[in-house]
Every structure is written in structure tokens, then in C-alpha cells.
Symmetry: C2
Subunit: 455 residues, 2 copies
């Protein structure tokens, strides 16, 4: 970068004062934390398209109205629904014993009572892809690939391929079903669910994740003798289940059409209560917006809080939003989605035009009291706004520390007690600070092009 | 203690040399660790009285023969059998959601499809005991008592009372069933099973443990609205299931009738693979005995390794052993049972006569290179030898660090990967060292009385 590129935009003293007041106010937030606590308690698990997700929408809309937002709307859409009814697995020979598994989202049912077949093990997805049909035919595939623990979550992209593609690759080679070592970083006996690649509601074949100790157990058993496993998965599906996005706004005092979007997703997997994924994110953006609402006057631009539905099953809420609002995406000045737990934010990434980098630096300097380091200009923004980013909407990613995130992600252990209130509040402060700044200042972050070229 | 009481018995240099060689040899043990790995893998869960426990006996006896013990015998006995078939619970209102539970050992079945009733919550067992019949009648009792984390496991005795007595107290007051916060110290979503008090095979009523996050969830829900729960438990029982103790000996070269007993229990709960409880203990005593077996000559006294059956359901293997060998308990010079995981031993307790305290100190000094502190003279010895201790058999307790033990104890997460090999090997060194010393020296630890008075 040239010296000129290090320019930092100036923030007027009264605005800077307000930013720092918001940061302090966030440190004692209760609105956001209570929102997350109540969502995960009074609703609990909220599978996409389920009756529980509908209850979550209604509950959230009522809460947001009670909190005083200027407008609260639900934007409905429908999705292909998938739900587990029954799932179990066991070693049949040489050492009969139960296995801890969970079906992957989109898995098909096995025959009643399950499939019984010999296992064939692969160290990773690439090995399965390279394997001959003879090796796989008539067998249950077991992929034992491990995931790398990282602070920024970068191990996930690589690890998740086996979850998405294992069933398709297995069925293509004449295999019967696929078992994967969970996409996760811990050694506790929790299997991690998550979506596999699928066409419509029907998946490619039966697929399930093993808890890490069960994957270890199978590997030990297979190094001793051939292993036969019974795998029973029964699921239900339907083509047009109701889902929806919940949208609440604080109307901007000068240019209400210009919007700062801060989002999260309201749905969760069914195994836990969706606390770190993503009840936390919803509490963080709601708590942050409430702090802004309590200022003497609304900021110049509108703050739009979006609680997306059906993120877990293919970013369906994000796609529905992008489609419905296609005509006015240029009004979105900036977007961010919190969907990586509630550990402390350690880095602040942006995706701005080159010309707007001084604004990025100004925001990053304002966040310094929170212990947040400046990041890069390649932010993704979050899953449900990734399609907005691709359409040219500027995004930021306040990076939560993800070191432990994949210990809990998509497991039964994703529960409210796992959230550290002090860390959560640092997130609320961060979201309040940058959302307010972007809403109050007259900054544009957008590239001249309406769409980014290469993504 | 008087100055004289601090006397330390002398260990001849060649014996001390051998002790230190055993300690070093233990630090690279593979026999013991492999025994634990194979027991928990090739057998897996080994519920008392089950077909799997029978497989574990046969497998262990064959392994011990292969390791070269002078004699290996199985001493059979029968037990009242209890097994879970089905268990589930859910909040019916105000916020329908599943709960993670596990039936307690000895629980009776509910009606088919389960009991649906309102919860009544008590902070601890004493509160339930003090409660009126009116409060409990027709309800499901929920005891939310927490357990204290300690290094020496002393929090367990207090916490376990609710597990043992909740169902009886509930049924006595006209309640329908009992749910307890698990007897455990972690916050992961694992319920902890374990035995409740019961008459014969039939327990007092339906009883189950909640995972800690589920107990938190119920407490939060109850602070909002009355909570109705459905609890479904289906069990099977039978009066005379086969169990047994597996006994292996290294015959003493001079006084083979005098025995040093080192034990563990072979059975486990069904949820995990019984690694820390108590596959580890069995590997530790087998590994220690094997090191002694590999010395140039057998020690003066016999080393007796006892793998007890059916410990989990009432120390039934211990009672069977004490009954069968009642006539020659005076031949047991010293006994110890490893049943507290495989974390590092940090303290060495004894229960010797006053006259034998110099021997205790000599053993403790010999163990100093392992980082073990001298302990008290009030050792319990271990569950299956507690009845031997009450009959006057001298016992020692090499105290494993139990700080994390009750995070895993009796949960699905009690699996082999939780064992740290270096810590495990420190245990093998310890058992080899003190067992050899007690077997080689001409020491008596016994009080003059054949039975201790006050226990
Ligand atoms: Zn998410
Ligand atoms: Zn997710
Ligand atoms: Zn035990
Ligand atoms: Zn136990």
C-alpha cells in the first residue's frame, strides 16, 4: 500500500463521543443477552421449516415490537423441509457395540431396520474420489478426515467438503451409505450434523456423522478385523414448508432509504438449542440496535436488523431476501451478519472500494478500545449476505474468535451456558459502534461497479 | 504424632534398586495401556450381567493367560440384571423441546409412552425430604443440586445421595418419577447414569438424570412458567444373570499364601466404553503386575490381580469375593483397587496399624520420584475392597487426580481417547512399585484385631 492508502477518515468529535458511549453501554448489555437466552429457552431448537421455527419468528417479531423498533415485518417464503425421525448405528461384528451418530441434513432414509454392510475406510474425501468402484460397491463408506482448529474458522471450508459430497460420491460408486468423522474440532462424544449437498428435499443417499471417539473406535477396530455396521436412518421431507425472515428497523432521521443491515439467522439445527449458532448472533445485533435506539436521536441512515430464516439448509433466507429486495440492494450502504458464536471479536475485516479504505481505518481505530485488530479488505460478511456482497453491497466481518466454535457447532452441546456474557457484550459494543458510525456518517463504501467482477 | 512416629522403615538397597527400576519401566508401559485400549475397543461397554460383560471376562482371562500369569481363574456369581431399553423426555409445555436424559440404574419403567406431569423443583435432596406430600403428589420431582469439583473426589459422596434416594423419597410422597441434575461436574450435554438405591432388581420408581444444560434449561423455564414434562423409560430386568471375577496370580517365591491384592472392576456402564471407569484401572493393575512378572525372580509373596465383575450395580463382585474367600482374608497382606481414572497419582494414603506407619513412610518415600505426596492413614482402598478393609485387611489408596473425573464418569463420553498415556504410565509405575515392595519385604501392616472396630 502506498502512504496515501494509509489515510484515515476523520470522525467529528460528537460522533466519536457517541461511538465510545455505545461501546461502554454495550459492556453492560442485557437486552441482547436476554434475547439470546429467551430464544434458546422459550423456543429451543428451531429447525428450518419446522413449527418451532414458526414459533421463533412470531416470538421474535413480538419481542422486537416490544423493544420499540419503528417497523417489524415478517417476510415469508417456503422451503423444502427435512427432519430426522430416527437414527442409530452399531457395530455388528467383530465387537457388537452401539455407535453415536447423527444423520446429515438432506440424508435419505435407509430401509427399515437399517443397512448392514462392511465398512470401507478412507482417510479423506480425495481418497474416496480416487477409489475404484470395486472397493466401494455394496459397502458403507467411512471417511475419517480430521478438521484443523483455527482462530478464523478457515479449517471449515476444507473439512466441510466430505459432509457435502460424501453421499453423492459413495452412491456414484455403488456404495450404500456414508459415515463421516464429524466436521468438528473436539474429542467429546458429540456428532455434528449439518447440511449435505442435495438436489431438492431428497438427498443423494443415507449419510451420517460419527462422534470423534466413535470414528477413533472404528479405526481401531478396522486395524484389528473387518468391521460390519448397521446404520438406520429414517427421515421425513415435504416440498413447501413455511419459513421467513424477520426484519426490524430504526428509521434513519435524514436518509431513511439508506440502510445499514446487521443480521443473524433465526433457525438452528435440531440437536442443540442453537445458542452459539446462531441465537448469539441474533442477540448481538438486536442488543446493538437497541443501544442505538436509545440515543437522543436516530442516526441519519436506517438501521435494519434481519433475522434470517432457514440459513442452515442452504442460506434460503438470504436468497429470499436478495430476491425480494433485488430492486433496491443499492440502498444497502453496508451489511454484516453475526454467525460465528459470541467469543470476543479479535479482528475487523471489510470489503470496501479502495477509495473507502480511509473509512475502514477510521472504523478500526474507533474499535481499538475493544481490543480489535485491523483486518483485511476481503471480508465475506456472513452466509446470508454473501449474495448481497456478490451483488456489490459493501460488507464487514467482525471476526469472532472461532478457536472453540467447532467444538460445539451443530452438536447437542450448543446450549446457552456455553456463551460467556463478557465476550458476548464485547460483540454488542462492536456491532453498535460500527453500525452507528456507518449510519451517522456520510460515507460510501461501495465500488463504482454495481457488482463485483470475479466472485 | 510423636517424633518416634516419624520413623521410616529401611528398604535394603537391592530392593530399592528394583523399585526404582520398576518405576522407570512403568514410564514406557505398553502392556497396561494396550489392555485398556483393547478392553474398551474389542468389548466396548460392559454392563453388569450382560453378554458383553461375559465376553469381557473371557477376553480378559485369555489375555492374562497370554501375558504369562501363573494362574488365571474366573469365579462366577449371579446378579439381578437391569438394562435400559428406551428412554426419552421432553418439555410438553410451555415450550415444546426434547431433553437429554438417561435412566438411573435400577429405575422402573414408566407406563408405555411415558408419564406426563408438572415438574416440582427442589434445590437439593434435603429440600425434597422436607417437602409436604401436597407439593409432590402427582408431580415429577426435579432435583437441581450441583456437585462440587474437588481433586480427591470428596464432592461425590454428598452429590450421590440424590441419585440413590430421589426415587424412593418421591414415591413415598406420592410423586410419579424423579429427574436429577446429573451427578457430575461438567457443563457438556451428557447425562450421567449410575445406580440408585433399590431392593432387588426392581427399583423404587422411574428415575433419570438430566444433562447439566438441560437442568439449567428447566430451571430457566420454571422461572418463567409452570413446566410439564413427558418422561418415558422402559427397562428390562432378570433375577439371576451371570457375572464373575477374573483372578490372575504371580505365585510368591517364598510365602505364596500371603497375597498382595491389586484390583479394578471389569464391568462398566453402558453409555460409554468404560475407559476411565474402569478400563483404566484394569490396565494399570495388569500393566503393573506384568512389570513385576518380568523381574529376575518373583517376589516373596503372591501378587493377585482381581478384575471384579458387577461393581457398578452394588459392588457385587467385591461382595462375592469377600464371601468366597472369607476363611482366608487374613492371608491378604495388602489390598488396593484402582477405580478413579488414570490421571496422575498425587497422594498415597494408607490404612495400616500404628506400628506399621514406618512401612507406610518407606513406601511413600520410594514413590517420591513419581511426584506423589504422603497422605493420611484413613485410606478406603476402593469400592470392591471396602468390605475387605472392614474385615481388617490393610489397604492403600494411591489417589488419582480426580479434578476432571466427574466430567466423564458414567457418561457416553467415557472413551479411550480421554486417557493421557503419560499419566496412565505414572499409575502403572506406582502400582508396580508399592505392590512389589509389599510383596518383597517381610512387613505386616495389619492391626492386632482381625476386624477394625468402628467401620
Ligand atoms: Zn450459523
Ligand atoms: Zn450452522
Ligand atoms: Zn468404577
Ligand atoms: Zn462407576
Amino acid at each position: 500500500l502506498s502512504a496515501a492508502a494509509q489515510e484515515v477518515a476523520e470522525i467529528p468529535a460528537p460522533v466519536e463521543d457517541t461511538v465510545q458511549r455505545l461501546i461502554v453501554a454495550g459492556s453492560t448489555d442485557d437486552v441482547g443477552l436476554t434475547f439470546t437466552e429467551d430464544l434458546t429457552t422459550r423456543i429451543g431448537p428451531r429447525l428450518a421449516g419446522s413449527e418451532a421455527e414458526a414459533r421463533a419468528r412470531d416470538w421474535a417479531a413480538a419481542e422486537l415490537k416490544a423493544l420499540g423498533f419503528d417497523s417489524v415485518t415478517i417476510e415469508p417464503f417456503t422451503i423444502p423441509y427435512w427432519n430426522r425421525i430416527e437414527e442409530s448405528a452399531s457395530v455388528v461384528s467383530p465387537a457388537p457395540q452401539p455407535l453415536t451418530i447423527t444423520a446429515l441434513g438432506g440424508s435419505t432414509s435407509t430401509s427399515e431396520g437399517g443397512i448392514t454392510a462392511e465398512l470401507v475406510r478412507f482417510s479423506n474425501m480425495a481418497e474416496l474420489n480416487a477409489a475404484s468402484r470395486e472397493l466401494v460397491e455394496g459397502k458403507i463408506v467411512f471417511i475419517d478426515e480430521k478438521m484443523t482448529r483455527t482462530q478464523d474458522g478457515s479449517g471449515y471450508g476444507m473439512a466441510v467438503r466430505k459432509r457435502r459430497n460424501c453421499a453423492t460420491a459413495t452412491i456414484d460408486k455403488g456404495g450404500l451409505a456414508c459415515l463421516i468423522r464429524s466436521v468438528g474440532t473436539q474429542t467429546a462424544r458429540f456428532p455434528h450434523t449439518g447440511m449435505m449437498a442435495r438436489g431438492e428435499a431428497e438427498g443423494a443417499g443415507p449419510a451420517a456423522a460419527l462422534s470423534p471417539p466413535d470414528a477413533d473406535q472404528l479405526t481401531r477396530l478396522m486395524s484389528w478385523q473387518p468391521v460390519t455396521v448397521n446404520l438406520n436412518i429414517q427421515v421425513e421431507t415435504s416440498p413447501n414448508a413455511p419459513s421467513g425472515n424477520v426484519i426490524a428497523e430504526i428509521t434513519g432521521r435524514e436518509t431513511p432509504d439508506e440502510k445499514i443491515l446487521i443480521g443473524c439467522h433465526l433457525d438452528s439445527w435440531d440437536l442443540g438449542t442453537g445458542a452459539i449458532d446462531d441465537g448469539a448472533g441474533c442477540g448481538i445485533v438486536v442488543g446493538a440496535a437497541k443501544l442505538i435506539m436509545e440515543l437522543e436521536e436516530a442516526p441519519r441512515r436506517t438501521i435494519q436488523v434481519v433475522l434470517y430464516g432457514s440459513e442452515e439448509v442452504g442460506l434460503l433466507g438470504g436468497h429470499a431476501y436478495a430476491k425480494r429486495h433485488a430492486a433496491d440492494l443499492s440502498n444497502i450502504v453496508l451489511a454484516a451478519e453475526s454467525d460465528f458464536g459470541a467469543d470476543r471479536i479479535w479482528r475487523f475485516d471489510t470489503r470496501f472500494s479502495e477509495a473507502a479504505l480511509p473509512y475502514a481505518r477510521a472504523i478500526q481505530e474507533a474499535l481499538q478500545p475493544l481490543g480489535i485488530a485491523p483486518g483485511n479488505n476481503e471480508a465475506g460478511g456472513g452466509p446470508d449476505i454473501s449474495m448481497l456482497a456478490r451483488s456489490g453491497v459493501p460488507v464487514v466481518t467482525p471476526q469472532q474468535n472461532g478457536w472453540d466454535y467447532f467444538d460445539l457447532h451443530h452438536t447437542p452441546d450448543d446450549t446457552f451456558d456455553k456463551i460467556d456474557p463478557a465476550d458476548f457484550r464485547q460483540n454488542v459494543s462492536t456491532y453498535a459502534a460500527f453500525a452507528y458510525l456507518a449510519a451517522e456518517m456520510n460515507w460510501s463504501f461501495r465500488k463504482d461497479e454495481t457488482a463485483l467482477s470475479s466472485e
